[in-house]
Amino acid sequence: MSQEQHVFLEVKDLRTRFHTPEGTIYAVNGVSFSLNEGETLAVVGESGCGKSVTMMSILRLIAMPPGKIVSGEVTYRDRKLLELSEDAMEHIRGKEIAMIFQDPMTSLNPVLTIGRQLTETLRTHTPMTPEQCRERAITLLDWVGIPDATKRLYDYPHQFSGGMRQRVMIAMALACTPSLLIADEPTTALDVTIQAQIIELAKRLKQDVGMAMIWITHDLGVVAGMADRVIVMYAGFIVEEADVDDLYDNPLHPYTIALLQALPRADRRREKSLKSIQGAPPNLLAEPVGCPFAPRCEFVQDRCVRENPLLQIVEGKHKAACWVDVKTGGLR
């Protein structure tokens, strides 16, 4: 891979809220990150921490209303995605940035054949003839490892297993060779062996095609296997950002530490039982004051309750949003 690091997606201060009858949900609260060409970024965090909403905001797939992107800037190859017209956005979705979703059982239209759905992106975005589309669809199905692709084009989604449907989803996403693939927990709904196959597929994608990927997951094991860089999210904030090895060896945020302690690791001898994180994730209905993790944090200080720490560089490329130096337990 080329060492030249070229930023092609930059998200600045993204804030997304949902206005519901119960009140405003502060789903994403000022998220900033960037992505280089060919890089795999993992976004981890527990359910409801804003991972999916962040990615869907980038592609402007949030239902509005009730959702609203309150502020922020998304720059993709010199284009400001949040300011583009809906038409222009349709040209980016699928063609330049593709997204795959968590549940392959529901992500395919049950009344259309796989072939129809696979060629849809091609028909929308390219001037290919139906014959060329079909050829391409067969190549794609082959590539993601679906046997007998020529025949299976005419099958319906219910004739495929979960893992195969996720492969079809990936094939669909790859149809126009987008430069960025956003995968929203693509392995969560699958069983472990199938998960491993999908991850293998993603690795091949990274090596053979050099495609940049954002991989949303709450499985830190998956992250370790394939990501270059990791973002940890909590309650709509990015709390830590680091290269993958750095994050595992030297976690700087108490939340990351707690997550890693809750994870069984094959590379370490098990000394004590796994630890769970006390308490529950915060209610996103209130505008956050102070650090959102403070109520569950074992390093908590007075300042944490009053002021929310910003994400800042701690060392090198390693960023964390915490007042406390977790090594000494004192303020940084």
Binding site: R93, K95, M99, I100, F101, P110, V111, E120, T121, T124
Partner: protein
């Protein structure tokens, strides 16, 4: 489609019966227009006989020929009116359901306003108002009174609100499904999502309600024609045949029995067809 389970057999048979009956009725409908309008006053009000199996009417026209010819018109009216209904209903329901928000509010208030209008009165007033002004038209070698077109459009224009509501409800639920999000994520334009992704998924209730709409339109046409406001003579329909018969209810039963019976039969047949289609198309009864 997958295999049909034994429990579906009865429904399927009923559906087939409905369909076969329709074909049967349509096939018999081959007598010429000329013959059906041929008057022979010497043979007026004849009871059923070998020469006239259904008897003759007040001016000596053969009732069998007229029921058959009238059946064509009635069925054609039913189908075209249901077609108009389906087109408008799908368009309004789809736009309201897919886009939601203000568009939904405006379209649905309009739909409710249409629902509030008494369909029958509107039908009578409008046909009274328009039907005198249209010339006769020729289609497929048949001369139809212009009132036929009026009736088709009026029935279509007054019966779409129910369908629009069904379509909207379907769209509301299907657009939240994940595959729609997935389609949007691949940059599929809105119109394609509406017509190629959501519509095929909601086709079952639409087909069923359209089928029932045909039956509804046929009885509506009969009703309005019976009141003398519908299709004008000499174009025969079952409805205006009944109109001519109502003064002879006791003295000449054959004048009303046959067209009346056929209206009942065709309505039942179409309803069976609709029921059968519903059972066949309902995904919950489909074996995967």
């Amino acid at each position: 489609m997958a295999q049909i389970s034994p429990t579906q057999n009865g429904d399927l048979r009923r559906c087939c019966f409905g369909f076969a009956h329709l074909v049967f009725v349509r096939r018999r409908v081959l007598f010429t227009e000329k013959y059906s309008n041929f008057t022979n006053t010497k043979e007026r009000l004849q009871p059923p006989s070998a020469a006239h199996p259904f008897g003759t009417d007040t001016v000596g026209r053969d009732i069998l020929a007229r029921t058959i010819y009238g059946g064509q018109i009635s069925i054609a009216i039913g189908i075209t009116a249901a077609f108009v209904e389906v087109m408008i209903g799908i368009l309004i329901g789809a736009l309201a359901g897919y886009f939601g928000g203000r568009i939904d509010s405006i379209l649905m208030r309009f739909t409710e306003a249409m629902l509030n209008m008494p369909q029958l009165l509107l039908l009578i007033v409008m046909s009274k108002f328009f039907s005198g002004q249209l010339p006769n038209i020729n289609i497929l070698g048949r001369t139809l009174s212009g009132s036929v077109v009026v009736i088709v459009f009026i029935i279509g224009l007054t019966s779409w609100p129910y369908l629009a509501r069904i379509v909207r409800a379907e769209f509301l639920s299907i657009k939240e499904r994940e595959f729609i999000l997935a389609a949007r994520a691949t940059g599929t334009p809105s119109w394609e999502i509406i017509f190629k992704h959501i519509l095929p998924n909601s086709i079952a209730p639409i087909v069923v309600s359209a089928t029932l709409g045909v039956a509804g339109a046929i009885s509506l046409e009969a009703y309005v024609s019976f009141l003398g406001m519908g299709v004008r003579a000499p174009t025969a329909t079952w409805g205006n045949m009944l109109e001519n018969a109502y003064r002879y209810i006791e003295s000449a039963y054959w004048l009303w029995l046959f067209p009346g019976l056929l209206i009942v039969l065709i309505t039942i047949s179409i309803n069976f067809l609709g029921d059968g289609l519903r059972d066949a198309l309902d995904p919950r009864s489909r074996t995967v």
